[in-house]
């Protein structure tokens, strides 16, 4: 079923896009990540212009995060105060990211920049995940064999973060820290949202646990809360300046994504979390390798056309 995308100005196979959204949704339901970091590169592989892939992916994440966020909200697992600080940082970061995005678009380097950032990012994250998953699997085997004890919990306080001024209490997070730390974290993730079209949950969640030391019960809910607002702000920024939000594309991805996520959640319950993380690490590294290959292999045509910007 061919469908003409009004902003991308191209005809796509709607079924393929829905399945793509579904596949990423399945993985995101299975691994508990947003999946934006897979949606954008896959759309680029399909032939959607990178700028439109990034902006529309951000819009899709807003929609796919809402049901999860509401579920955590009902259970009282959203730290609104922490969330608002993160959102404030995120909106500032998204604004900065948008300026960078626009400049890169003007000098004709946006496509290659998005690709390079993705290669670096997915490469680092994938390697870290792979290392952690392998270590966890080995440790588990040793514990099962009675050779070692479970590892001690990670330290909750990072010295330079505790040293920041203007400490305040975040009750649900169980924290007494300076709001500058989450503001900065939100800002960094916001830049990535605008440039890469990702929610950033897979950076936000570990950073909240290991850097800020938030209590685990509030982490995921607060992260989703933050993602909704920052991706919404990103959509608005892209819609007003680069005009690259394709709502039809976003909704197609969303339909597939929500359905895929439910199936993913069910599949995840039958599998071991360490093995899941190992699988995700392999997928992430495979996407990074694919993008890197695309950057280094000589393109079929050296000449690319750009309309008036």
């Amino acid at each position: 079923m061919d469908l003409y995308l009004p902003i991308a100005e191209m005809s796509v196979n709607a079924i393929v896009i829905i399945l793509l959204g579904g596949g990423v949704g399945f993985l995101s339901g299975m691994f508990g990540v947003g999946g934006g970091f897979l949606t954008t590169p896959l759309l680029i592989f399909y032939g959607i212009p990178p700028a439109i892939a990034v902006a529309s992916s951000a819009t899709q994440i807003t929609g796919s995060s809402v049901s999860g966020a509401l579920a955590y909200w009902r259970r009282g697992q959203v730290d609104v105060k922490m969330g608002l600080v993160l959102v404030a940082g995120g909106v500032i970061g998204a604004g900065l990211g948008q300026i960078v995005f626009r400049q890169l678009q003007k000098i004709g380097q946006i496509d290659v920049s998005i690709n390079i950032i993705y290669v670096l990012f997915l490469g680092i994250i994938g390697t870290l995940m792979l290392k952690e998953a392998v270590t966890a699997l080995q440790a588990e085997r040793r514990i099962a064999a009675g050779e070692a004890r479970p590892p001690a919990r990670l330290r909750r306080h990072v010295p330079w973060i505790s040293a920041l001024p203007g400490k305040t209490r975040f009750y649900k997070s169980g924290l007494y820290i300076s709001p500058l730390a989450p503001l900065l974290l939100g800002g960094v993730v916001g830049v990535l949202t605008a440039i890469m079209g990702i929610g950033g949950g897979f950076i936000m969640v570990p950073a909240m646990i290991y850097l800020l030391g938030m209590s685990a019960s509030a982490v995921v809910g607060t992260s989703l809360f933050q993602i909704i607002f920052v991706t919404a702000a990103t959509t608005l920024l892209h819609a007003t300046s680069s005009k690259s939000v394709d709502i039809v594309l976003a909704l197609l991805l969303l339909v597939g994504g929500v359905a895929g996520a439910q199936l993913g959640v069910q599949a995840a319950q039958k599998l071991k979390p360490e093995k899941l993380r190992l699988a995700l690490a392999v997928i992430v590294l495979a996407v990074a390798a694919g993008l890197l290959f695309g950057l280094t292999v000589q393109p079929q045509s050296l000449y690319t056309l750009y309309g008036p910007l």
């Binding site: 004709g108 290659v112 959509t235 976003a250 439910q262 280094t296 056309l305």
Partner: protein
């Protein structure tokens, strides 16, 4: 008496009038809607000879369909530290968004270079107006790159066998309009060529535009960016909620 006079006048004028072309299109407007996959434009018509005298030699026809011209920046990739990056660029001021030539014979056989250049018949005769600055060789390389990219996207097309002429009078050609065609005001120019000279021309306008939902979305996004953004966010939120509710039921 009056009718007789009119008939006389018609005969006189008809005899003195040069050869002319009567042209029409299968549609005067192409709508890009949700299911748009490209279109086939039929250009057809008749050659009107003075006093209806059809010459023995078959006539040559060249049909040019062109879209609105716009500036295009061509960027060339080069390997920098192992990665292919856009490096040099040249701006071309007037590149037609779509350009198709259909003819009865290869363009080189129709007329001399000067004539085809004057009427811009043939892709290599397009005046793309490169911005000055680069050397001639560079400009030519970029122009070739531009043309190759446009040809690959089926936005620049040349077909030397596409026009059929019946009985030396009726002509027709099918022009394929691809799905990624830019919107705007198009024109089909029809040239009648004999012995290397263009002896009659006619032009028919055609509009290509987004219609219905596609048009509405596009106009909203271009002219009311903020409202479009807000609508996109609300639509995503609503769709996310509805989809998750539906899924949970099952």
């Amino acid at each position: 008496m009056r009718a007789l006079f009119a008939l006389l006048l018609w005969l006189l004028l008809g005899a003195a009038a040069p050869t002319s072309l009567i042209s029409a299109l299968s549609q005067s407007r192409i709508d890009i809607n949700t299911t748009f996959k490209g279109a086939d434009l039929l250009v057809f018509g008749a050659i009107q000879y003075p006093a209806g005298a059809v010459p023995d030699a078959p006539p040559d026809i060249a049909i040019v369909v062109r879209g609105p011209a716009e500036p295009v920046t061509v960027r060339r990739k080069a390997r920098v530290a192992g990665i292919w990056l856009n490096t040099d660029r040249i701006r071309f001021e007037s590149v037609p968004g779509f350009y198709a030539v259909a003819s009865t014979r290869p363009i080189a056989d129709l007329a001399d270079d000067r004539t085809t250049a004057i009427y811009e018949i043939g892709i290599r005769n397009l005046q793309l107006s490169p911005a000055s600055g680069a050397s001639e060789g560079e400009t030519r390389a970029f122009e070739a790159g531009l043309i190759a990219a446009k040809r690959k996207a089926r936005l620049f097309v040349e077909d030397a066998r596409a026009v059929t002429v019946t009985g030396g009078v009726l002509y027709r050609a099918r022009i394929a309009i691809p799905a990624i065609v830019p919107v705007g005001d198009y024109a089909a120019e029809i040239h009648l060529i004999r012995k290397g000279r263009v002896i009659a021309s006619s032009s028919v306008p055609i509009g290509i535009g987004k219609s219905g939902f596609e048009r509405w979305i596009y106009v909203m996004a271009q002219e009311h960016g903020l409202a479009y953004g807000i609508a996109a966010v609300l639509a995503a939120l609503l769709a996310g909620l509805v989809a998750s509710l539906v899924m949970r039921r099952h």
